[in-house]
Amino acid sequence: MEDKRFNQLKERYNYMHDILAGKNNENLRLLASRLEELDSRFPALSARERETAVTSLEDLFNFVEKKIEVELTPMDRVRIVRNPQRICLRDILENVYDNYTEIGSMGEHSPDPAMLIARAYITRRHGKRVFNQSVMVIGHEKGHGEEIRNGGSAQPWGNAKALHYMKVAETENIPIHTYVFTPGAFPVEDTPGAAQQIARNLFEMGNVKVPILAVFSEGGSGGAEAVGLADRRLMLSHGYYSVISPEGGAAIEGNVKRGPRATPELIEKVASDLCITAQDNLRLGYIDRIIQEPNLGARCHHFDFFRLLRQEVLRATDEIVLDVRGMQPFRAMGKRSRRKKIEEGLNMENVRMSWNLSPSAQERLMERRHRKFRGLAGQAFIDPRTKWDLFKQGLNETFWELAGYIRYDLLRKRQQNIANFFGEIRSETSLFIKNQTAPLRRLLGKAIPPLRVKRNGEAEKQLTTLSDWNDGNERGQWSYVSPKAKEDKAVICPNSATHGCLDMWAPDLYGEFAGVCTNCGHHFPMEYQWYLYNMFDAGSIHEFNAEIEARNPLDYEGFDLKLEKAKAATGRKSSCMTFEASIQGINLCVYMLMAPFRGGSVGAAEGEKIILASERASKKRLPLLAYVHGTAGIRIQEGVNGVIQMPRCTMAMRRYIDAGGLYLVLYDTNSYAGPVASFLGCSPYQFGIRSSNVGFAGPGVIQETTGVMPPPHYHSVYKALARGHIQGVWDRREARFNLHQSMLTMGGRNLYYK
């Protein structure tokens, strides 16, 4: 008996040692020496002495644990979450739910053992009656370090399966409980694609018509978002929720490239700068509530914790449902009393509360969910617009909506009716004339010249003299010419070895050839200005919301300076420019991510501008184009303020598309990570400029996480096209033509020119 307790103490020591990562800790040293000391004399002790010794040592352990708990650093929390002893989803299914069946997996026999789906129920009692309330449980399974679970890093097909069963839950009208236990999604491009599947999940989850509750333990970036978009988001007190793993952040920060790894000190510092703890996230508004864990984090034997979790899960689900229930007077009373009971901390198991939603409640649920995310991250960017500006803006928008309605709905429908009427008359008349003259024409054959031939002299003149022609755009001349075209030097095509391309003269290549190798078609990167001035009608660009500015919301050390530098170098306030322009006379709304500004990374300011652009496009009935000159991903220095733009912007795109718009995405140079895995990747019409790359994680990150170097051109647009991630590959010089073509052939009803 005492043996077992003594061994448990040893395990507790090891656990502490692990989560502190061998950091020099006085308390730990004390414990170690006491353990050693007891260990040496243990065999000689009597049962009674053993009992006393172990008990006193246990007390010391409890004391030290409490002490360490207070001093835990963010990185310690990361280690807690990753420790194999930490509770995992299966433990929760066993201890929080009353019954469950795993769906679609038996150990390694699963499309993705890192993603677990279960149908479960929770039993509630009301008086003598028993109610089993069904939920769909979806989440990452870390399996206490089981290798097949891949640390909870979900494959694209794991996320696809998750989405599938969310749809099932929607059909069955039962709530969804998701558990986020992931260090990040597994970076493979194979169909359906890591990024594209996350984007699909976000796009769909925004409108899943049943309550979604998410519980975060380990919220690693994009992988977390794939199941984390929820009406209520709870977080375990020792968990973390971050834009990037602290190691990854440190690698970028320390500019480590395949050299020695970042130092532990730098990693600690990055972990703390990124504001990844539950407290941080609650303060920033990205989670709704913290569930307190036992000291040094919840492990399997913490049955009290499971009880608490059960209460919290029930409470949160009830709250979601209550919030959207109809406000019929007779129900309102009950609702109020029930809310009171919840607040009073009643045992939730004894509350009777149906989780079924009526169609109108479902509508409200979705509206609330959209409103919730729309309102996030408001503090994380600089918006110098005054109340008066916003009021004027609001007036404008109302005007656009009204004018659009009158012009395109009311008037055009009437016009069309009239046009249809005359059209029918015309076709009938011509048919009549044709029928009447047919025998005559047959008789005379071609003797009657067609009516349209002009008089001889005039016709001859037309065939032999100069005609009027206003050739607006001179062939081979571009409105914008790259500064790279001013250097007298040759440029080597990267494909010269395989395609035999000759070196080109920079002024030819970057000028007339628009940066395209004349031999193999390789596209050299061009400045975004090239697209601004060659893709859109001359003089048609009108920027809006230029004043919305990126800032350093986490006071991330050293980032203010970097941001200032980027602003000074580019003359822009964020990496995103939003504007209206036209292509061959068709107006459209554009948001552009510019690579020169912090790698085209997306933070709160960019996210807000993107959403505003989509809302403007929707109201003005314009097509919406995302021209991605390049994006390295979410701006890590903004932490979750950045990550949250993934669901935020994706939901905005969903609203825009549902309203009947046309959302086009055009990738250029390199586009990776969060944006591709959300608001870009969710578009049904994504195209890539030749020689550009689209993907989830760059080659370096892939090697880091999977240990295997991806093959060359792994992320090329042609590969992306073959995998079904994008819908076409465009030559830069034809982008204008193709965009015009796309606007004519694609998109929904809410377009002013349709």
Partner: protein, 475 residues
């Protein structure tokens, strides 16, 4: 600057490189030559070594690589580049680079803007029409509207019928196309619309431009040319008469060229041939003045059987057949004109030094292109080793000049990737009768033989040339 301070890089090979080197020598200019490893034994390499020493020769990776020419120009200290014909001769980007690079050079040819302006066929046609120069009936701009296209085609059929053409034809071409792609023929207006749509859709897919040109398809015509020469400032523009280049291979490659273009004194034509010759020279000069033409160039015309001339295009370079015009030209009564030397001299900035009135013409010239090919088999090129090449009996005749890069004293392997011309034989005669006789005498005495590695006998077009000689200039 005295032009003799210049050094010319000869950016070409074979016959034209030889002619340029010879012209440089004549003008007292230094020169540098390039060659590929494959061409190490070519005639131009031997001549350059003979006249300029090994130091005047540079081995390069490819004649098509402009960078090679630029570094060799810098390394050799050249101040000007002569592109010859083919390769970079009509590449305005090359001309622009030569001029605009940090170490600028003279491009011996028209200025790059002129090359670009006349390199665009639609632009050339519109320039011509703006001056009243006749062009092929049809559109002079891309047509985008189906109704307009159909109306134009209908007018064209009507126009041809009124001219008495039995089987009128209309061509639909993708305006952004080139190299024979996206061109279709229509015989009947009823078929027009479907053919039009095919071409338009092809053009939209292939060239991202739906525009088409609609023109009369002329089948029965003679191919004439006007030789133009102008000095660098385009102030003094003269012509060197006309040529007839109607004897061609099935692939529409020229095989025999005759100067002048018609012979109204001896041969009867259904139209006023002298007027046609006069008209096309006048028109060509007018257009040259309009674009400020500043080098040698050739205005290509087609003349229909009833004597309508239409301007087709302008070749902004020296042409293979320049020598046949030079053979009949006299400047201030002097023979021995060398158009390549004139091009280099004026290109480097020397004034022309004479006016149109100083130029006269005498006799008749025929140029034969001697080529290893099989005229009986679609003019398929023949590749192998030439073992015998000589023209005994006529080699001392003053009426013959023969230009070749093929050695006569040793066997020669024909390189596989270049212009197939082996030699140009230019014959001069007092009149057409004498020219024909001398031409046949030359061809009959020509010895040209060889075999492939598998022992097959050489094939040449000499018999084809003989067969065409009696009927030259008849139309």
């Amino acid at each position: 600057m005295n032009i003799s301070d210049n050094k010319v890089l000869v950016a070409n090979r074979g016959e034209i490189a030889i002619r340029i080197v010879q012209a440089c020598r004549k003008l007292g200019l230094d020169f540098a030559c390039v060659h590929t490893a494959e061409d190490a034994h070519s005639g131009h390499v031997r001549l350059a070594r003979e006249l300029g020493g090994q130091g005047s020769l540079y081995r390069i990776s490819s004649y098509h690589d402009a960078n090679e020419l630029m570094v060799v120009a810098d390394e050799s200290g050249a101040t000007a580049i002569h592109p010859g014909y083919g390769f970079f001769a009509e590449d305005y980007r090359f001309a622009r680079r030569v001029m605009q690079r940090n170490r600028g050079l003279i491009f011996i040819g028209p200025s790059w803007r002129v090359i670009r302006e006349l390199g665009d066929k639609i632009n050339t046609k519109r320039l011509a029409r703006s001056l009243g120069v006749p062009t092929v009936p049809g559109s002079d701009r891309p047509i985008y509207d189906e109704m307009e296209a159909e109306a134009l085609a209908a007018s064209l059929f009507d126009f041809q019928e009124r001219q008495g053409i039995k089987k009128p034809l209309v061509l639909i071409k993708a305006s952004a196309g080139g190299g024979g792609m996206g061109i279709e023929e229509v015989q009947d207006i009823d078929l027009f619309r479907s053919v039009y749509r095919r071409v338009r859709n092809y053009a939209a897919r292939q060239f991202k431009d739906e525009g088409v040109l609609i023109e009369q398809r002329i089948r029965d015509f003679n191919h004439l040319e006007v030789q133009i020469l102008a000095d660098r400032n385009a102030k003094n523009i003269v012509h060197f008469g006309t040529r007839n280049c109607s004897i061609q291979s099935t692939g529409l490659q020229k095989r025999v060229e005759i100067a002048p273009g018609f012979d109204p004194g001896t041969i009867t034509y259904k139209f006023d041939a002298q007027k046609v010759l006069d008209d096309i020279t006048t028109h060509s000069l007018a257009l040259a003045r309009k674009v400020k033409y500043d080098s040698v160039g050739t205005w290509e015309w087609i003349v229909t059987r009833d004597g309508h001339p239409y301007l087709m295009e302008v070749n902004t370079r020296i042409q293979v057949e320049n020598g046949v015009s030079a053979a009949i030209a006299r400047v201030k009564g002097q023979s021995g004109i060398d158009l390549i030397a004139e091009q280099i001299r004026t290109g480097l900035g020397d004034p022309l030094g004479y006016a149109q009135d100083d130029i006269s013409f005498e006799g008749m010239g025929i140029e034969y292109r001697i080529i290893a090919e099989d005229p009986d088999n679609g003019f398929t090129p023949w590749v192998g080793r030439i073992e015998e090449f000589a023209w005994p009996g006529t080699d001392k005749e003053p009426w013959l000049s023969l230009h070749t890069h093929v050695p006569t004293d040793q066997p020669y392997d024909i390189p596989t990737e270049f212009d197939p011309n082996l030699a140009l034989g230019i014959i001069w005669g007092q009149d057409i009768k004498q020219a024909r006789e001398r031409g046949l005498e030359f061809l009959n005495n020509l010895k040209l033989d060889g075999q492939t590695s598998s022992g097959q006998r050489m094939k040449t077009n000499v018999e084809f040339l003989k067969g065409k000689t009696p009927a030259i200039l008849q139309f």
